[in-house]
Symmetry: C2
Subunit: 480 residues, 2 copies
């Protein structure tokens, strides 16, 4: 007897062999055909039961959601829906699923809204859609690690709890061990953080970049891949309070090398899932097509999911300077006809997602890398160009997703960095260790951050970021 | 000209080819021999400079810690210390390192204590020891992902911020968006968490297990690998407030399968680093041997580092029931002579690390898996045995490290689980979603947790856990 996963059995040619397989019942038709799934694939194995040979009490317990174990013989299927099936000799009920209770959950065999599925995030992975998304997410994670490891990057776990609040990437959550009802105070009424667990004020990290830089300037090329946090009240389909970020950082690498790396990296991971998640992607493509049918024609995707992924693989990302982009936007129809909410009037304007979408989806119709942004709208650590007004920053914009990567060449010159910090009121003593890297053997270096969930959204075609992470954290929501 | 990493050049046979390499100066002897390192390997490339051909102003700036870029011809080395060297044609100083300032840091070329290195955690990765540790840590991480992915486990990112405080694995850090000076309060004076970011009290996770189980019961077999937190005031060489944990969870798998998995997994990752980190492990073995020389004979390791790793590979972990272990301990010399701080008097006693160390280091002299612990000293979710007093728990104990794995078969029976929760005062409404997994198609399932830093300690031979994570978080310490 061979104990096997559904995925293995579906590929097997060992006909007439006895197999054992355990899983959850997806359907039971005509008191005869059990569709069994164990999570190893989107597809079910058909288990054929001759009801006359089984105890009716057992048969009654084969209901949607129940866990059962089946022994039987592998056969070619007579039905056209599947290549193989199992001729069942023995059924064991492992765990029942009361149909009356199942009816109240998303396990019940009918169409449930994504909103409802989110409310039962502990069960939704048992549906076809979320099984597929989460398998793809897992493969995509491994593709990330594989890419960097093959290219001799070292994985670095930068701290999650940070005493540094100078990163400036966004609002931070506080971490404390205090009893909030009665935290110790100083004489002047301020909180006495010396008495807190870490002896100072601490927060959840918004980025591992600064710590990552210290490691790149020793190990040469590193990447992080870990959770990051934003305490921003952004209740949108594009924001999470807790999300996973990938941040490579490379010594002796300028902005061009950084753009090359980001493009090569994205193409590698997209190729990896195309090669390793065929069944799941086909299912997700169909799901997206069905969803599109419910939308007005103008909002539908021009390409199917897989076609879109192949398009990214096969085309160079368009590299456009901020200055060029502003010219294009100023001359654009929606700008002239005042269709943009924020009209682009002059160089220096911050780009909104409507502008990014226009550039990517209407003008270039391909992934776009914008670079050399005005210093004023970018972070303090980005390298100032010789023009004195732009920095070596780059953002990668994707159709349907918007910004997926933000990166830069870092300011490696101690004096320029200090000047910039002074301008912005960032105290040197807050970042003494960061400044040290510019004191002792500084060098050209670059890196970027890629929001992992945005990438999963792109690859799976899911419109809401809450549907590509197991248990989303958003304002007013931290269930499970 | 070939632009290359030091690791590549050291392996290269392209003699008489011109190479370009960038890195940090480790030493500059006799105004002639630069040892250059770029983090790609523990070894340096020797760059030979004919000082008569270079500007003395440039030569003066080639100091320990400086970043330089070198062009030159690859040659077989005349020295015995290295196989190849670079005959330098061109030197570019990228970043200076003022020798007077370097002297005040751990970059200065002399022996520094591990304590001092910890204070400069942003620079310590540039030392041989920490370069080696962090390269091994990175490879070990990848081995973890590779093992599970090859075995068709899915990677799941369980939430870091959790609204669930019933896990019971330890003290939790609070996460809040409140101004601690003035948090909103209810009429009765309690904190009004409804007004906090998530609309409820939230903490940093101590384990992803419970959420992981919900995913295993859909995807079949999953693993987590992410940060976990303990707000415990344990200022020891074995504890961190923030550490990375690996938690696989497998449906249709009992405790025996769980032990098999854990042992197979550990052997795989140890083998992986033995094969992929040879130079770093040899260096770390020597470091450990040198450290051992400073210790009293009784405290020295019996085996060298690499020998110890091979020993783990080549020997089965000894599987011993808790009951057998208690008998061994009761009869042991240190128990009879009252050398243990906690004397083992009867069945049911919780094992302290002195007892675990005795079993592993003195009695069995190999990794040990203890199983079937008294229910009273273990968590609520562990499966009760038929004897009604033990649970299907297992701990793996390693020489020099102590507990490295804790796992169990999970209680899959809804009624037994509810009874246990009631006994311990865990409210069902706190864990409604966890109980749901036992209502809808429950099945035998198991899993374990492995503290990643303990594993890195074991593999690198580092005695203090603060030295195997880039930026350790411990009581009163969250610098960087």
């Amino acid at each position: 007897m061979i104990q096997a996963k559904v995925a293995e059995i579906l590929e097997s040619d060992q006909f007439l062999q006895e197999f054992k397989v355990s899983g959850w019942v997806r359907s039971f038709r005509s008191n005869r055909f059990v569709a069994l799934n164990d999570g190893s694939t989107i597809n079910n194995i058909q288990c054929v039961i001759d009801f006359e040979k089984f105890n009716p009490e057992t048969l009654k317990r084969i209901t949607v959601g129940a866990a059962i174990s089946v022994k039987g013989i592998l056969k070619e299927s007579e039905g056209k829906q599947q290549r193989v099936e199992i001729d069942v000799k023995e059924v064991t009920i492992l765990g029942d699923a009361n149909p009356e209770e199942v009816k109240l959950t998303i396990l019940s065999p009918k169409r449930h809204s994504l909103e409802k599925l989110r409310e039962q995030a502990h069960l939704r992975v048992r549906t076809n859609t979320f099984g597929a998304i989460m398998r793809v997410r897992s493969k995509l994670s491994f593709a990330v690690h594989s890419y960097f490891q093959q290219n001799n990057f070292y994985y670095v776990n930068t701290p999650i709890i940070t005493g540094s609040d100078a990163e400036g990437a966004g609002e931070m959550f506080k971490v404390t061990n205090f009893d909030l009802k009665n935290p110790p105070k100083n004489e002047d009424g301020s909180i006495d953080y010396k008495k807190d667990f870490f002896g100072k004020e601490t927060n959840l990290t918004v980025s591992g970049q600064l710590e990552g830089e210290t490691y790149a300037l020793g190990l040469g090329q590193i990447y992080t891949f870990g959770p990051t946090f934003r305490a921003e009240n952004s209740n949108t389909s594009r924001h999470l309070a807790e999300f996973w970020m990938i941040e490579p950082e490379i010594a002796f690498c300028d902005l061009d090398g950084n753009m090359d790396l980001a493009e090569d990296f994205i193409k590698y991971v997209v190729k990896y899932v195309l090669e390793n998640c065929k069944d799941d992607l086909e299912f997700l493509e169909q799901r997206l097509a069905n969803e599109d049918k419910t939308k007005p024609a103008a909002e539908r995707s021009e390409m199917g999911l897989i076609e879109k992924l192949k398009f990214v693989l096969e085309n160079n990302f368009k590299r456009v300077s901020y200055t060029e982009a502003i010219d294009i936007l100023k001359d654009s129809k929606p700008n002239k006809k005042k269709k943009f909410k924020y009209i682009i009037e002059e160089w220096g304007a911050d780009l909104q997602s409507e502008h990014e979408r226009f550039l990517v989806e209407k003008h270039f119709k391909c992934p776009v890398i914008l670079f050399d942004y005005p210093a004023k709208i970018k972070a303090f650590y980005m390298r100032l160009n010789e023009d004195g007004k732009t920095v070596r920053a780059m953002d990668i914009l994707f159709p349907g997703i918007g910004e997926i990567v933000g990166g830069s060449q870092r300011e490696e010159r101690l004096d320029v960095l200090k000047e910039k910090m002074a301008e912005l009121g960032i105290e040197e003593k807050e970042l003494w260790w960061y400044l040290d890297t510019r004191k002792f053997g500084t060098c050209v270096h670059s890196g970027f951050g890629l929001g992992f969930e945005r990438l999963v959204q792109f690859v799976t075609g899911m419109g809401n970021i809450r549907d590509v992470i197991p248990f989303p954290r958003t304002p007013q929501s931290a269930e499970f």
